[in-house]
Structure formats: structure tokens, C-alpha cells
């Protein structure tokens, strides 16, 4: 066998290999049995507008998922975890249903809620509860169908308990947000949407929230955290134009670096 015959044989072999492979591949691709993550756009879950343009773009279905548990992993209160929900809560206060807050870390300030457009009369507060009571209250709230949203602060919550809340949530088509510590990010959870919230160090004058999507059903999560620029207060007027503001807003207030210890 001379060299040219060898080349020819290899070529023929290669040609047939490619031919058969491509045939096999196209057959596989055309059959409905193969699931391709890149084409997964047909995830249907009713959502509600978050009121924040940047956040809408991040979330599947462009909004907070209705009838699903959302986990918010956040270590320090006061970084904007409620402000992130303010547009939603404002929308939900139009419904004649309770907004159930189960064992929040502090007392919600009615005037503060009102200044963000949240009707404080719709807020039902369950506090000083132990973990079983918290879960019971949250589940009752969801199952009753009389709560538009349930906000639950629970550190020690197992995946089984999250799944239980998720089932209750699906039946009621209410929103459910569970606030947990950031270390829970490493634990497995049944919540379809998990967001990590943290404050941006060395930020400019307005509060800036760093949001990372740890898990989201129906879309690949973003690998890198996204910075959302959320003002300290959502007033009603600002709320409507907030979507435009977030991109262009520059601080108008002069920040004064003051060490209180020195002022004393």
C-alpha cells in the first residue's frame, strides 16, 4: 500500500464518519426527546412586574414569580431588602388582602411604609414566634388565600420546610419571600428563585444593592452580581419614574463624611 492510497483511505473513512455523525446529530436534535438548555424559553410562570427595570431583565418572565417561593439571602437588614420589594408591595396594597410579615427583625414603621406607598393597614404582623410557629403562620397565610404576600424571616429552615411552603404557595398563587442568612447559599433549596443581596462597599451617596442570582428556574443564572441602584426612599412620585432614574441618576445630595465619634 503506497502513501497516496493510505491518504485516500483515511479521507474516505473520515468522510463517512462525518457524514454518519452529522446524520446522527441532526436526528437527535430533531427528536423532541433531547432537552437543550439554550433553547429553553418556554418556561411559563405568571409573574408580577418588579417595578425595577434592571431587575425585570434579570428575572425569568420579567418579574417576581407568582405562586412561588423566593429566597432572599441577606445578612444585614437595612441594605434595601424591603425597598427592592417596595414597588411590588405598593401594587399589592391595592388588593383587599393581608400582607403577612412573619417575625421580621424589627418593627415595620407604618409611616415609613406609607412613604413608600405601602398601605400599613394591610400589614398583618406575627412576631415573637419560634420556628415551628413561624412556619405554621406562613403556611396558614398562604393556604388561606387571604394574603397577597407572605414575608418570612427564618434562619433555621430546612429544605423540606421550604418545599412545604412552596406547595402551599403554588395553591394560593400568592407571593412568598423567605429572608435567610447568606450562608444558606451553599445549602440546597427547593425555592425556584434564590437571590443573594448584599451592600456594595464604598458606594456613592445613594444606597446601592448588589444582587446575585443564585438559582432561577427557567433561565441560566447570571454568573456575576448585578448592582442595582436603589434610592433610600421610594416615594410615590419617584417610584413611577424610577425605571428611568436608575440608569441616569447621579447623586444630588452632597455626602458629608462625618465620623460621629469626632462630632461628639
Amino acid at each position: 500500500m503506497d502513501f497516496s492510497t493510505l491518504i485516500y483511505c483515511t479521507y474516505i473513512q473520515y468522510y463517512f464518519l462525518v457524514y454518519f455523525m452529522s446524520d446522527l446529530l441532526s436526528g437527535l436534535l430533531n427528536s423532541a426527546q433531547l432537552w437543550r438548555a439554550s433553547e429553553n424559553t418556554n418556561y411559563h410562570c405568571p409573574t408580577q412586574n418588579t417595578g425595577i427595570k434592571e431587575l425585570n431583565q434579570l428575572l425569568p418572565g420579567s418579574g417576581w414569580p407568582l405562586g412561588n417561593v423566593t429566597e432572599m439571602l441577606c445578612d444585614t437588614p437595612g441594605i434595601g431588602e424591603i425597598r427592592l420589594l417596595a414597588p411590588l408591595l405598593q401594587e399589592l396594597s391595592k388588593q383587599d388582602k393581608w400582607m403577612l410579615w412573619v417575625s421580621p427583625p424589627f418593627l415595620p414603621y407604618p409611616s415609613g411604609l406609607e412613604s413608600q406607598g405601602i398601605n400599613h393597614q394591610k400589614v398583618l404582623l406575627a412576631r415573637n414566634l419560634n420556628t415551628p410557629e413561624k412556619l405554621w403562620a406562613a403556611e396558614q397565610g398562604l393556604r388561606s388565600g387571604q394574603c397577597s404576600v407572605v414575608l418570612l424571616w427564618a434562619d433555621r429552615i430546612t429544605n423540606t420546610q421550604v418545599r412545604r411552603l412552596q406547595t402551599a404557595c403554588v395553591d394560593s398563587s400568592a407571593h412568598c419571600f423567605i429572608f435567610r442568612q447568606a450562608r444558606a447559599a451553599n445549602e440546597h433549596s427547593s425555592a425556584p428563585l434564590r437571590l443573594g443581596l448584599s451592600a456594595v462597599a464604598k458606594a456613592s451617596a445613594t444606597s446601592t444593592l448588589q444582587l446575585s442570582i443564585i438559582k432561577c428556574r427557567g433561565r441560566w443564572p447570571h454568573n456575576h452580581p448585578v448592582i442595582l441602584n436603589i434610592p433610600a426612599i421610594f416615594t410615590k412620585a419617584r417610584l413611577s419614574t424610577f425605571a428611568e432614574l436608575t440608569t441616569t441618576q447621579t447623586s444630588t445630595q452632597t455626602s458629608t463624611q462625618t465620623a460621629i465619634s469626632s462630632a461628639k
Binding site: 393581608w98 421580621p104 414603621y109
Partner: protein, 474 residues
């Protein structure tokens, strides 16, 4: 006048069967220890009245034995009278096991005798009783006819008279000694007695018999003491066996609550609270108060509340009987609901609250209220169930009334927290709050501050120059 008598010969057994279930073999004994009544299950095992307890125990291994004088038959009669009250106004109790109803005045409402007759019969059978009904022209004749099982259901006076005359002497309700004497004289039916001149009868057998005969035939009036319904609800159920676990209490409680629901529906009232008395063996009892935030008539809802309340309740001793007391009655008002159910249902919203109050203690479930005060500490109020104002008592601050332009945090600390040496960045201008000279004067400059960890706090400098944290912009 037309009367209807309801005879309940098996009332003691029916009463026990209602709380124990029909599968249990139940016998009722008299004080001497002889069986006087047995239910169907016991009879199927061969147990008959007048047997001794020991014979009966041999015939059925799991026999429930109750003495007749231990049962509260009178209150049961009253309950039945209350139920009958929805159909008839004039009811007289005939303890221990009968009810007399005057029906002539009610006939126009019900149409005819048989409609009313069957309504009552069906209703009582559904409740687990075995009634014998009969009409009569006088109270005593109605009773005699129903006890003889004539089951007369007509308003034809001639038929009723005829049936009365054919009545055997044993059913006429004479004293046993007199019945005995009459039998020995060769009389068997009432017809034969009435044929004798009264004077001779009185000479032989006494005046009482004549008076009785006059009342029986309706010749002399027989005034009745009619029943008036109670204003509150209080009912007791004796448990056949002691119950020592909380879930076991729910079954008899459900029975009580069904009775309560019927009571409330008939009197068109609703309750906002009730008391549950659990009686223990040594004649002490524990009391459980169940508050309901909006008045309700729904048994299912109340039972859920009771089970939630009982879950957290530690029984000090086994329970022998339960009393349900509901004296705070209010006129029932139908709540209007939305046709399309888009908005929350106010009644169901209240139900959720009720459940929370029942399971968690009252101070754990609260709502918030804005007070008209500039001082942050006094500008809100935590409302529990008890200190809640009735709507309209106080001016509710409507969201639109409130000044939305103010910068206020989401979280408020209930007491300002002193800041010692924390380096923060002030990112807003000062807002001076100076108020309260009339009781607790404050004079503070509030700022929004960024903390080193990135959180936004609401801090203030007091008059003395000290810094405090008062809230978080969550």
C-alpha cells in the same frame, strides 16, 4: 284545640347512642340494677329489658351500662323543645320523655297536620331519636294515643274520638292500681268506662279518676305550662368514657358545636366568644376561653379554632364531661361578599385572624396604626385584638392624608440605640423634629446615614449631642 304529643320511650338509649355511636351495645338500668332499655345492638345480642346486669354482661362482652338517673334527660328534652320551637310556638314539656305541642294555631303556616307531623318525625329521626307521634283533642288524649302507638295524623275529630274510645285501659294513663281494678271488673277499653255514669265511677274508684277522665276527653280545660326558649346557649355533654388526649375531645365537641350552630341559626344570632368547660373526675374543671374576632355562626370554623386552642392546652386530668357556654350573642348579620371573589373576602380574612389568635397568643399577632404625632416613637401604635378600636371610633388616617414626602425608614427600633464611636456617612440633610413639649419633649436632628457594612440607618443627634440609631431603611 288540636294537640300533638311526641313520645320518646327510648330517649335514654338514644341520648347515649348519640354520643357513643350506634355500633356500641348500650343498656340503661334502673336504680335496682335491672335493665329497662337496650339499644338495637344490645337487643341483637339477646339482651332484653328486666334482665339483670350480670345476665346482660354475659350476653355481650363490651356493654356500656348507664343508670337512668345519671342521665340529664330534662336538658335533652329542652334541647328537643328548642328544635321544635322553629315549627310551633306552644310547647309543653312532659318529663321524663315527652313533649306536647299545640298545633291548631300553627296549621295555617304548615298547611295541614300531616305536613307538620312528618316534618317533626323526620327531623327527630335524623337527630337519632325514635319518636312516636300522635294527635289528640286534649293534651292527655294525645299522650295516651301516642303511647299506645296509634300514630294518628289527622284533624278529623270523629276519627280521633273513635281512636280514643278504642284505646285499651293500659294506655290510658290511669294509676296502675285503678287499671288493675278496672280490668278485674271486666273493662278493657276506654269506651266501656265512659259508658258508665260518672257518679257511680267516682263512688267506686274515687274522684281523681273522674277528673282525669274529664281532662282526657276534653270536657274540662287542661291549662299547660308552655316552654320559653333560653336566651343564651349552655350545653353539657357527658362523655361515656374518660378522655385524656386533646384530639379525642374534638368528636364530642363537634356534636356540641353542631347543636350550637342549629341554635344560632334558629335564633338568628352569632357569637363572638365562647367558653369551654372541661370537667374532670374530682369535680374540678378547667376553662378555655375562645375569642372570635368577628362574630360567626360557622361550626367548621369554630371547630378549627377549638382544635388549635386545644393543641397548645395541657389537660391537667382526664375529662369526664364538656360544657359549652356561649352567652355573648349578637344579631346575625350576613356579610356581603364580592361576586367575582377578586378582592379578599372579609369573612375569610377574619377567619385567618381567628386562627392566628387561637393558635398563637394574642400579643403575637398585631396590626399597625398611625397616630397623629410628630415624634417617631408616638407616631405609631401596635394594635392587638383587645386594644383594637371599633371601626369609626377613631379617625383612621388614610394613606392619602398622610404626608408622603417625609423620609421615613422601613424598620423602626422600639427604643433608640446609642451609637458609640461608629463611623458613618451622613447622606442627607438634617430633618429637625421638635415636639412633645406637653408631655415628653424631644428635640432632635434626624439624618440618613450609611453604615460601614452598607446599611442605611436613620440616626439622630439629641439635644445633648449624643447620637442614636432609630431605624433602618430596609
Amino acid at each position: 284545640m288540636l294537640w300533638l304529643y311526641i313520645d320518646l320511650p327510648t330517649l335514654p338509649v338514644d341520648l347515649c347512642e348519640r354520643s357513643a355511636g350506634p355500633t356500641e351495645a348500650i343498656v340503661i338500668t334502673n336504680t335496682a340494677g335491672k335493665i329497662i332499655l337496650a339499644n338495637a345492638t344490645a337487643q341483637a345480642a339477646g339482651i332484653r329489658p328486666s334482665q339483670s346486669i350480670s345476665t346482660a354482661s354475659c350476653l355481650h362482652e363490651k356493654l356500656l351500662i348507664k343508670r337512668k338517673n345519671e342521665l340529664n334527660l330534662h336538658s335533652c328534652l329542652q334541647d328537643i323543645a328548642h328544635w321544635v320551637y322553629q315549627y310551633c310556638a306552644n310547647i309543653a314539656l312532659y318529663p321524663p320523655d315527652g313533649l306536647l305541642i299545640e298545633i291548631e294555631s300553627m296549621l295555617r303556616m304548615h298547611g295541614d297536620v300531616s305536613t307538620l307531623y312528618h316534618k317533626l318525625q323526620r327531623g327527630l329521626t335524623e337527630q337519632g331519636f325514635h319518636p312516636r307521634l300522635s294527635v289528640g283533642l286534649s293534651p292527655l288524649s294525645a299522650r295516651a294515643l301516642s303511647q299506645s302507638n296509634s300514630a294518628l295524623c289527622t284533624d278529623n275529630q270523629q276519627t280521633i274520638k273513635q281512636a280514643l274510645l278504642q284505646l285499651s285501659l293500659a294506655h290510658c294513663g290511669f294509676l296502675p292500681s285503678i287499671t288493675e281494678k278496672l280490668h278485674r271488673m271486666g273493662f278493657n277499653t276506654l269506651h266501656q268506662i265512659l259508658a258508665i255514669p260518672r257518679v257511680e265511677l267516682a263512688q267506686r274508684l274515687g274522684h281523681e279518676l273522674c277528673t282525669y277522665l274529664c281532662r282526657l276527653t276534653g270536657e274540662s280545660p287542661d291549662p299547660q305550662d308552655f316552654y320559653t326558649p333560653a336566651t343564651g346557649f349552655e350545653r353539657n355533654v357527658d362523655l361515656l368514657a374518660e378522655i385524656d388526649n386533646n384530639t379525642g375531645l374534638l368528636f364530642p365537641l363537634n356534636r356540641l358545636l353542631l347543636d350550637l350552630e342549629i341554635f344560632l341559626r334558629h335564633s338568628q344570632q352569632s357569637i363572638d366568644s365562647m367558653t369551654l368547660q372541661l370537667h374532670h373526675r374530682d369535680s374540678c374543671f378547667s376553662e378555655i376561653y375562645i375569642g372570635i374576632s368577628a362574630s360567626t355562626t360557622q361550626t367548621k370554623e369554630i371547630l378549627t379554632l377549638c382544635s388549635l386552642k386545644l393543641e397548645s392546652y395541657q389537660l391537667p386530668a382526664p375529662v369526664t364531661s364538656i360544657t359549652l357556654i356561649a352567652n355573648h350573642l349578637q344579631p346575625y348579620q350576613k356579610q356581603q361578599t364580592d361576586l367575582f371573589q377578586k378582592a379578599g373576602n372579609p369573612a375569610e380574612k377574619q377567619q385567618l385572624l381567628n386562627r392566628f389568635y387561637a393558635k398563637l397568643s394574642e400579643e403575637k399577632v398585631v396590626t399597625l396604626r398611625i397616630e397623629e404625632d410628630h415624634r417617631p416613637e408616638k407616631s405609631y401604635q401596635i394594635e392587638t385584638q383587645t386594644n383594637k378600636d371599633r371601626p369609626g371610633d377613631k379617625k383612621q388616617i388614610h394613606p392619602s392624608d398622610h404626608n408622603n414626602k417625609l423620609t421615613r425608614p422601613t424598620w423602626i427600633l422600639q427604643a433608640p440605640y446609642p451609637l458609640h464611636g461608629t463611623a458613618v456617612t451622613l447622606i442627607s440633610d438634617a430633618e429637625r423634629i421638635s415636639a412633645g413639649w406637653w408631655d415628653q419633649s424631644i428635640n432632635r436632628d434626624y439624618y440618613i446615614a450609611r453604615f460601614p457594612n452598607g446599611a442605611l440607618g436613620w440616626i439622630f443627634r439629641s439635644n445633648e449631642g449624643n447620637w442614636f440609631l432609630h431605624g433602618w431603611f430596609g
